[in-house]
């Protein structure tokens, strides 16, 4: 091991620990202290009072139940539908096409999806309008289809948002599993393709997709933006309730709010533990099932049903984006009409109306956060290369940590710490907080292509006398331009989607498209909300477009380097 590699490795580790781990641990610790009555600003000693306060709040039990049902239900449903679609795409040989078609959909931020989905399924939404035209309705139906008390709209909205992600992860994982061999062998033993998928391929696939599934699960249990837009409002899900209590004018509410944040974290931990236990139980049951040797003729139908529903959900996602676009250009669109009566560019032509400033903040923050995270990720990967050490399990855990912890669990505490450091309300605090969630995605996106780089290329450069730095800047980075830009686009998309970190660290002074869209979503003019949501979706789209276009233009005479994804 060479000292040069050691130094880089050590400094990257120090930066990650100081900038990522420490704030999270400190924030979580501060939230925990407040949950037990310890708060420097407000005084008060160690007590369980916040907890009795929390459980005395009206609707607490309902909030907890709502979070559990929407969180676990949506993740399970998205997983099952993704599996059905993955099998269907693999069987038809269209997996590559599916992956390319899904990538941009993935970029659409949560809030925009939720708003569009709401515009779609609301009593006076697009679906009702289309039905009204067919059935001759004059008035919207009197059913609460959005923000319904059971949380079904939220559950379905989460499925719409997470299905493309899980499907993409599954398709990528399936490339690392001997799918064709398993199918040929299993079918020659009398099993249908569906039976082989469930008995042989899924058990091989699961270890590769476990972590992303858990990330989706943690998010679904603790998301705030989508739950505010689509979830019931009184009582809301636990994460929304906690966010509201933190924002309560009565400062003493931070006590039960902190206890709620800790409860929310405990809920995530308990559910993730439940997945672990279910995995073991299912593995054991699966083995008994496999040993029984039933050839499973009926399973093909079940998987086809799942893929059919999956297609329908993907369709809802596309329709949600369409309806956002329609509203942002609509001038008059009254109820039973399937399309707007008249169109207008009024909102788009008037950035001073508000969206200009929000878009500017979103763009600036996104670029800064992405640059920061990309630099750190490249430094990390280069340090791994130079020290010639594979990534340790704890390092992987470190990368995933911010994605598995509920944001609400440590953002309040972090905000308090930033407040004491005089950072709150500034752009720097928001950049820092967003980077906590952007860095993992950039790292995940860049790791595989980085490791897939042909080692012969590096050895050749070294044998020509290029030192480590020249190998990095003249060989690795240019060769990996495509994947680096894609990782940057993903990071940018994640930044554009950030709601809670921007809200908490910006102290309400930094209005991005995400915070504005969520705020406006409750009861504002659909045309205005549509404009914000379209912009929020358009920025990541543009980033992906650039990530794909730049290598094509720059490397137009270099076939091997042109593909971005």
């Amino acid at each position: 091991m060479r000292p040069e590699g050691q130094a880089l490795r050590r400094s990257v580790l120090i930066v990650v620990v100081l900038a990522v781990v420490l704030p999270i641990v400190a924030g979580a610790g501060q939230t925990l202290r407040t949950a037990f009555g310890l708060h420097e600003g407000l005084g008060g000693g160690l007590s369980l009072a916040p907890w009795s306060q929390l459980f005395a709040l009206p609707g607490m039990a309902t909030s907890l139940r709502l979070s559990l049902i929407t969180g676990v239900g949506s993740t399970l449903l998205a997983l099952i539908l993704a599996l059905g679609l993955c099998v269907a795409l693999q069987t038809s040989g269209r997996a590559g096409w599916g992956a390319r078609a899904l990538a941009p959909v993935l970029a659409v931020p949560h809030a925009a999806v939720a708003i569009g989905f709401g515009f779609l399924i609301a009593p006076a939404g697009w679906i009702a309008r289309l039905l009204a035209a067919a059935l001759g309705w004059q008035d919207p139906p009197l059913v609460a289809t959005v923000q319904d008390a059971a949380g079904l709209a939220l559950l379905l909205g989460l499925v719409v948002k997470e299905l493309p992600f899980l499907l993409l992860v599954m398709l990528a994982a399936a490339r690392q599993v001997p799918v064709a061999t398993s199918l040929a062998l299993g079918r020659s033993l009398g099993y249908s393709a569906a039976a082989v998928w469930l008995r042989l391929i899924l058990p091989q696939l699961w270890p590769l997709i476990r972590l992303p599934v858990l990330v989706v699960q943690a998010y679904a249990l603790s998301c705030v933006d989508m739950a505010m837009i689509l979830g019931p409002s009184n009582p809301p899900t636990l994460a929304v309730a906690v966010t509201r209590w933190f924002g309560d004018p009565d400062l003493a509410m931070v006590y039960p709010a902190s206890a709620g944040a800790v409860l929310s974290a405990a809920l995530v931990a308990a559910v993730l533990l439940g997945w672990g236990l279910a995995e073991r139980g299912l593995a054991r049951a699966g083995l008994i099932w496999l040993r029984r040797g039933a050839r499973g003729r009926a399973e093909a139908g079940a998987l086809r049903l799942a893929s059919g529903l999956g297609v329908a959900v993907l369709g809802l996602g596309f329709a949600a984006l369409m309806v956002l676009l329609l509203w942002s250009f609509a001038f008059r669109w009254s109820f039973p009409d399937p399309l707007p009566e008249s169109w207008s560019l009024r909102l788009w032509a008037n950035p001073q109306g508000g969206w200009g400033r929000a878009a500017g903040y979103t763009l600036g923050l996104g670029l800064a956060v992405t640059a920061l995270c990309l630099t750190l990720a490249v430094a990390w990967l280069e340090a791994e290369d130079r020290s010639r050490a594979p990534r340790a399990a704890w390092a992987t855990a470190l990368i995933y940590l911010p994605l598995l912890l509920p944001q609400i669990g440590f953002l309040y505490g972090l905000n308090l710490l930033f407040l004491r450091m005089g950072l709150t309300g500034g752009v720097a605090a928001v950049i820092w907080a967003q980077a906590l969630f952007v860095f993992p995605y950039v790292m995940i996106a860049l790791s595989e292509p980085w490791r897939g780089l042909d080692p012969a290329l590096i050895r050749t450069a070294a044998s020509l006398g290029a030192g480590a730095n020249r190998r990095l800047f003249s060989v690795k980075l240019p060769t990996l331009l495509g994947p680096i830009l894609v990782a940057a686009a993903i990071g940018f998309a994640v930044s554009v989607a950030q709601y809670l970190p921007t809200l908490f660290m910006g102290a309400g002074r930094i209005a991005t498209l995400a915070t504005e869209a969520v705020t406006l979503a409750s009861g504002s003019d659909r045309r205005v909300v549509g404009t914000y949501a379209v912009l929020q979706a358009a920025l990541p789209f543009a980033a992906y477009g650039l990530a794909l276009a730049v290598p094509r233009v720059l490397y137009r005479n270099r076939r091997a380097l042109r593909g971005g994804m």
Partner: protein, 210 residues
């Protein structure tokens, strides 16, 4: 039960046929060897008979097994066992569970099924290997275990896709007679694809050149 192939042709979509129309009959307990240089479409022929033909290929002609027309049946409904070049064992399952996966569903009862798998392991010289990791098996052990897995599914015909080519010379003769003996004992028609003359000689049956 005989395996009959009637004027079978295979061609890549829009391309010329891989070989002249093939008609042959494999009698029960007989081994027919198909030989030819690599790339001529030997494996593709087996894929077509077993029902694994990849998208992008077109076939014509008919395939019969004991009077049953298999031509349009999916692979899993044909009752044709197949041995592949690599004797693939599923690494996430134990050796015994690999065999249990093959065992026909017709045999019921946990104890009876376990006994059938143990007996097959015994036959393969792998007694006591139920819980072993397949990655720890030698090439010969793996080939024998893979054959047992195929036979436990109670196929009515057996296709061999150069299953001996990856074995070293000493092991080859042993595994070859192990496979042929078991297939004969069950009266299975066997179609062997190889480019090794020794395989054909050992099979002691008709040889078809592609």
């Amino acid at each position: 039960m005989a395996l009959q192939i009637e004027a079978l042709t295979i061609s890549p979509r829009g391309g010329p046929a891989l070989f002249a129309p093939l008609t042959l009959t494999v009698a029960p307990a007989a081994v027919v060897t198909v030989m030819g240089p690599s790339g001529v479409g030997k494996s593709t022929l087996l894929d077509a008979i077993a029902g694994h033909l990849a998208q992008g290929f077109v076939q014509s002609g008919r395939i019969w097994l004991g009077g049953r027309d298999l031509t349009t049946l999916p692979a899993e409904a044909r009752g044709i066992g197949m041995m592949f070049q690599d004797a693939v064992m599923f690494g996430h399952l134990s050796v015994g569970d690999n065999l249990a996966f093959g065992l026909t569903a017709a045999l019921r009862g946990r104890a009876a099924r376990r006994a059938a798998v143990e007996a097959a392991l015994q036959t393969a010289g792998l007694a006591g290997f139920y819980n072993r990791d397949p990655a720890t098996l030698s090439g010969g052990q793996r080939a024998r275990a893979a054959l047992m897995r195929t036979l436990l599914a109670e196929p009515q015909a057996l296709l061999l896709d150069e299953p001996f080519s990856r074995l070293d010379a000493g092991l080859r003769a042993e595994i070859r007679s192990f496979v042929f003996d078991h297939a004969r004992a069950r009266g299975l028609p066997v179609l062997l694809v190889t480019h090794d003359g020794e395989d054909a000689a050992a099979a002691a049956g008709p040889v078809v050149q592609l």
